[in-house]
Subunit: 347 residues, 2 copies
DNA sequence: GTGTATAATTAAATCGGTCTAATTGGAGGA
DNA sequence: TCCTCCAATTAGACCGATTTAATTATACAC
């Protein structure tokens, strides 16, 4: 049970500790037969490489920090998966924290990562994160890449979806389909994707000369429950909306379930569009129209950008937007010809 | 940008490195005013504690390894969240790997964790894991706890749901409601929860003297798509089933969506029960009956068991089963009185 | 046979805290 | 004044691998 170290191997193989170290790392300095002998001895003794010791000397832990803001969201889960793949390929490890939309937790996580000496950090900042909160990362000199969310007026590497453009596309299509009363449902305000999606939404409405109603956006937790919880509020608007752009597919699912509960059929009585194109979106009844921006692309792009930084890329910060493509499915229906077709339960 | 270390602080505070170390860790050996002075100097200089260096000396990394088998499953995501909470409380870090149901990846993950010197490991073994695969953990002397899945004939700490009992309850209720043709849908075979759920299923059927049809179980990926993909096969059975116990809520969602697509209404024409009681299950249309076993309970229980091991608990391995409670909701309907009520598409 | 170039190996310093054993300083007692 | 005792502080070995500079061994040329 006692841990085997280089010295034991050295003794067993009849060489010095230096030789063992070099041999195990595959250094060309060591003669082949010697290296082979060393490797066998290590194997024999059940040697386990001690990365901690190596890290101390190397000033490299071969560890990447991943700080998620909300990983119960399936989009982030899928993203994390691709991050993992990229990390695994490079024989690195992932230090993981879900800040769960808590600024305090995020800051503690960052501190933790710094203390562990991660080589780099992938961060999706929680709402209300300011440049000052992230200044510590720059001071510490740790390479980091923001993903999914950026911080205004904070110059840093970033990879995320083209949110303004995506929302704009979706709303334009809704308008083409005859909708005029459109709302934006769900999402955490004070995050860049929310602001950008709302921006794209407004832009499309303004270009079409459509006035926004007094209440035209509704914030919520990004989840099925969050979407479901907003249905009543939306239906209480003076002149009932006929379409909703939802912050995410999960929100859209909840919203559709809520509509159905009120006897309103999404995809016929009410148009719904989400964001993310989750695998189940096309299986829904009705299939959910959505803005597709593959989470795996975001994840692997962010990871690769970070790796390049680790490899010494000193260029100015880069901002990469990944295209959001509108996937038109049944839930995105035209407006009903004669009246709204909606029977309000409370009437 | 240069890293501040104990020596710098020592110089600044006019004390020795030892004093700084002791002071920062809050040792009672150091006089209060001195400790305060040291802490201020550290603060001033922007010192970041180097856990790697400490770990080398301490033989403790304050790091826990979490190896998931399938964390795209929301149940695991929720579980991981509670693991994180417990870990965070104790100021430890999480080294995370999703083995994604790949044995090779799992073994590589275990190796990685050992090399990083994690203090303990939480592991949900992938299918086909044998005692031999995990022997390395025992040899290495690293405390570990299995969660959600156990390995037959492998004596180790384990926390998971009461699967046999849960499935048994569900099927008994189905039988009480008049169902006779019942199938088990979804899930990865060769994992203990699958085997146990199938076992409970069989037990209830046998006790009721109901014969199982030739094809009565259907394996699938644990996801909405997995559930949806099995609908056709289920409906092709000679005498059409009237009820399905699904491996998970996600599978049940997919299965229900598939049924609807075929014009069969779950909760009226077909009874469906899932496992997990996800937050959205009660929001579904119809609300999904399910076996509830809070993922947060599993996660925090497993983590605490591991922590106790780290704290020196040397007792024999413990197996903890967390009760699964049948939550009766609309999707668990009685069998239709006159005929199956199902119009088969292919007839 | 000697000298030199080259290949293979190794000694030893190093990474940054930790912690025990040793040292120092000051209070109090005789 | 000297001694004892205890509190506060510190020197220095240590954790386990890495890596450079130094050393030894080997080959080859003349």
């Amino acid at each position: 049970m006692k841990k085997v170290k280089l010295n034991e191997i050295a003794r067993a193989a009849g060489v010095s500790r230096s030789t063992v170290s070099l041999a195990l790392r595959g250094s060309p300095l060591i003669a082949k037969p010697t290296a082979e002998r060393v490797r066998e001895a290590a194997q024999q003794l059940g040697y386990v490489y001690n990365r901690t010791a190596a890290a101390l000397r190397n000033r490299k832990t071969h560890t990447i920090g991943l700080v998620e803001a909300n990983f119960k969201n399936p989009f982030f889960a899928a993203m994390s998966e691709s991050v993992e793949r990229e990390i695994e390929l490079r024989d690195k490890a992932l230090l993981f924290v879900d800040s769960a939309e808590s600024l305090e937790r995020q800051q503690k996580a960052i501190q933790l990562m710094l203390e562990h000496g991660v080589d780099g950090i992938l961060l999706c900042p929680v709402k209300h994160t300011t440049p000052e909160h992230l200044e510590i990362l720059k001071k510490a000199g740790v390479p980091f890449v923001l993903f999914s969310r950026y911080i205004p007026r904070f110059d840093a590497d970033y990879v995320g979806a083209a949110n303004v453009e995506g929302a704009y596309q979706a709303v334009r299509r809704m308008i083409q389909l005859g909708h005029r009363k459109i709302v934006f449902v769900g999402g955490e305000p004070f995050t860049s994707p929310w602001l950008d999606r709302v921006k794209g939404f407004k832009k499309a409405m303004q270009e079409a000369g459509i006035e926004l109603s007094t209440h035209w956006y509704f914030c919520s937790e990004v989840s099925v429950a969050g979407g479901a919880s907003k249905v009543d509020e939306v239906l209480q608007i003076q002149s009932t909306p006929t379409a909703a752009l939802c912050y995410s597919d999960t929100v859209a699912f909840g919203f559709m379930l809520g509509l159905e509960r009120r006897g309103i059929r999404p995809g016929r009585d009410f148009a719904v569009v989400g964001f993310d194109d989750l695998p189940e979106s096309k299986l829904w009844r009705p299939p959910l129209a959505t803005l597709a921006c593959p989470p795996s692309r975001v994840g692997s792009m962010a990871t690769r950008m970070l790796i390049e930084r680790l490899d010494g890329d000193e260029g100015p910060p880069r901002r990469v937007e990944i295209q959001s493509i509108l996937v038109h499915r049944e839930s995105l229906c035209p407006v009903m010809e004669h009246g709204s077709g909606i029977t309000r339960i409370d009437e």
